[in-house]
Amino acid sequence: MLKTQEFTLNMGPQHPATHGVFRLLLHLDGETVVKAEPIMGYLHRGIEKLAESRTYTQVIPYTDRLDYLAAMLNNLGYVQTVEKLMGIEVPERAEYVRVIVSEMSRLASHCLATGAYALDLGAFTGFMFPFREREKLMDMFEMICGSRMTFNYMRIGGVADDLPEEFYPAIKKFLKEFPACVDEYDGLITGNEIFQARTKGVSVLSSKKAIQYGMSGPVLRASGINYDLRKKRPYGVYDKFDFEVPVGENGDCFDRYNCRVLEMRQSHRIIEQALERLQELPEEEPLNAKVPKVIKPPKGEVYHEIEGAKGVLGYNVISDGTVNPYRVHVRRPSFINLSLIDEMCRGWKVADVVAIIGSLDIVLGEVDC
């Protein structure tokens, strides 16, 4: 056999397929990956350190900047942790508003993951279609809180403001149109022969490996494990909804992608139900619990996990009884899902590396924190 000399290739830090400032140092033998060395930290802002000199409420906007593609879920995880720490009961109406905006955030994140994945694999039209829906979601977020990316909408004890009048017709129109849009993604991307050839059987992740490495979210579920915290450890009012958890079979890139598409349909169902319940509740019901002006949780510590868009999002908040948190730690799903990248890339071609990173759906704001 012809012997080749191994060489290294830098993928990133500025590379569109790494979805942010992430550098992958590829050791190649011809076109085959021998080793992939992940190098990150380009977006490290020290949010955990910054949180130590902020008040509890001031930390909320920082959480927006972790997973900036699904910022509502980051808000939710943090405020629920502080509420647990203080023993605050959130009014029912606020809970439903939270579910609606959180699931919208999940949809926005999955729309981006789906579209960007198609683009990674060279399908430009497949990229435009999910982005069309993401755009509509962004417009609705703008109605709700004035911002399209970094919402800062949740508050300890509730939410910042009521949903505006114009939001209801917009979401109803969106919910009516959305299932047909997902059918369109299925036709354009999922069923595409080239797309399937590029993703099916690529970088298979066994369920055993996925568990050992603490994978979560669609990456874990694609490997055949039914683990969704909304079902297994329900928080908020998630136990009141009827939805299914899509699970893959093979754990390859295609299944990871497909899990997200199927999840979009389920999020759509949750929003429909939550909207219905919300409108049954009297409008004068409060959106905020009675919370002291100065938030001073008692000494103690809480670790709370929610199901984020990328996987299990956990917050560990420690209070020393003052107005500033003593320590805030975030368990970031992207960070942990990425830790197997070396093994997943080995033996595959350079073009497959793009497919593998895309299927993990990482966001660097969260990896680097």
């Binding site: 930290g41 955990e48 350190k49 683990y227 297994k232 670790y303 956990g314 730690h329 990425l338 680097d368």
Partner: protein
């Protein structure tokens, strides 16, 4: 088995383990044995989160382990000496500890013995100090 019962059984087996409100406080010398026991005998198969806190007099390493797909969780804490700042790594029990321990080393300067790749992960290699320590001096910001 409920996680409370598991905690009690662990306590019976390892005398030095303490049960405090919602977590187990395990001495540094027992941590690997307790972790192995929890994984192999009780089926806690995922290390969901690992982090550490600087309490000025000592460091505390926190492990949150859970059963997948059932979903119940146990919190474990280990107090370690601040001067020495060393603890056995659990990478061989849970590979998911690999990057999380590197992050703790990077930000808090706790060295995990027997870790296969104890390097900084987020900050550059020539960065001085460990920012999440309470005595870390930094320029800018508030306070």
């Amino acid at each position: 088995m409920e996680s409370n019962q598991v905690m009690k059984q662990i306590k019976e087996k390892y005398q030095q383990v303490e049960i405090l409100d919602n977590h187990l406080l395990v001495p540094e010398t027992d941590i690997k044995a307790v972790m192995k026991e929890l994984r192999d005998a009780y089926g806690y198969n995922v290390l969901s989160n690992e982090t550490a806190v600087d309490y000025q007099e000592y460091f505390e390493v926190i492990y949150n382990i859970c059963r997948v797909p059932e979903g119940d969780m146990i919190n474990i804490k280990v107090k370690i000496d601040r001067e020495k700042a060393e603890i056995p790594s659990v990478v061989d029990i849970w590979p998911s500890a690999g990057w999380q321990e590197r992050e703790i080393f990077d930000l808090l300067g706790i060295r995990f013995t027997d870790h296969p790749d104890m390097r900084r992960i987020l900050l550059e290699d020539d960065f001085e100090g460990h920012p999440l320590r309470r005595d870390f001096k930094w320029v800018g910001g508030r306070d």
